[in-house]
């Protein structure tokens, strides 16, 4: 009698354990996906905020590339050589391997432009700005400003990329246009 009761309890316990493991598997998947979704939201928020910051500096300097560089160097305590430091090799391979359309557009625009009209900001995984070019290979995020002058307009394209899992993901992109007023000649 006692043995049969123990056996029954064991069977019930095993069945409950089976359902528990199944539920756990589903719940862990939900927790992981919500964590990844939150991380993505946080990164996009930071990307948008930095793109806006740089866009406002660009607008305030009247669409002048050199003034933007000077203003950014002063406010963020960056040297102009660090701002013009190109993407480190280990990160640029991520960009070229990216199959996204935006990235193709970006590489095309890079090819069109003079390299003097592009600058980069690098961030660590917590969105702290990296100040020394020796640390840039460990960057997690980068902001790229590509500036073009077309007739009376200064056009800037801003791209914020994240480097993860050996690929570059475009987090946010923004285009700004600044008109140069006509003056009496």
């Amino acid at each position: 009698m006692k043995n049969s009761r123990s056996g029954l309890f064991l069977i019930e316990f095993l069945i409950a354990l089976l359902f528990f493991s199944l539920a756990c598997a589903v719940c862990i998947q939900l927790f992981v996906s919500s964590y990844l979704l939150s991380c993505n939201s946080v990164n996009k928020n930071h990307a948008c905020m930095w793109a806006e910051n740089v866009a406002e500096i660009y607008s305030a300097s009247g669409g002048d590339y050199n003034s933007t560089l000077t203003m950014l160097s002063n406010t963020e305590k960056l040297s102009s050589s660090d701002l013009k430091a190109a993407i480190p090799k280990n990160l640029s391979s991520f960009l070229s391997s990216d199959s996204q359309k935006q990235s193709k557009d970006f590489t095309a625009s890079l090819a069109k432009n003079n390299s003097d009209q592009i600058f980069y900001l690098y961030f660590d995984k917590n969105w702290n700005l990296l100040h020394q070019s020796k640390d840039f290979s460990a960057a997690y995020f980068t902001l790229i400003l590509s500036d073009q002058n077309i007739s009376d307009f200064s056009n800037a394209d801003l791209y914020v990329y994240s480097f993860r899992n050996h690929s570059a993901d475009l987090l946010y992109s923004l285009s700004i246009k600044k008109y140069h007023q006509k003056t009496l000649s």
């Binding site: 756990c24 719940c27 927790f31 919500s34 307009f153 007023q181 003056t183």
Partner: protein, 149 residues
């Protein structure tokens, strides 16, 4: 030895106890997982809205710059065709203002004052206003409170 000392404690686990315990734990897990995914989804929706709003604002700014460039070209033409300041202002007017839509409820209000350039490097206009306005007449506020009877 006393009678109480002879008694031993036996843990009695009846059938169904383990099932109830597991069901409670699973319910807790599912509740927390649902809360976390719904919170993450809400954050994601808010982020998408923020990105859309920022992009719309800069698109409106770009459209405004385009419009200003056309106005500037027109003012230059008027300046070339009119010989005096009075004729210039007669043709051009004192200024203009226009709106560029950002979203259903917001718009960019731009006000320009026309200037008559007198010496070199003088410009044809001055921006008086570059302001985001919320169109409150398009908004309907829910002023009721859901109080149960």
């Amino acid at each position: 030895m006393s009678q109480a000392g002879k008694q031993r404690f036996h843990l009695q686990l009846h059938n169904g106890v383990s099932s109830i315990l597991f069901i409670l734990v699973v319910l807790c897990l599912v509740s927390f997982a649902t809360l976390s995914i719904s919170s993450a989804n809400a954050d994601s929706r808010l982020t998408r809205k923020l990105l859309t709003r920022t992009t719309s604002y800069y698109s409106a700014c770009n459209a405004a710059e385009d419009k200003i460039s056309k106005i500037d070209s027109t003012l230059l033409k008027i300046y070339d065709s009119s010989g005096s300041q009075s004729k210039y202002f007669l043709k051009a007017g004192k200024g203009t203002s226009f709106y560029i839509s950002i979203s259903d409820t917001q718009r960019l209000n731009i006000e320009l004052q026309y200037l008559y350039p007198e010496k070199k490097s003088d410009t044809f206009y001055k921006i008086l206003k570059w302001q985001v306005e919320t169109e409150t007449n398009k908004m309907s506020y829910n002023e009721t409170l859901p109080i149960p009877d």
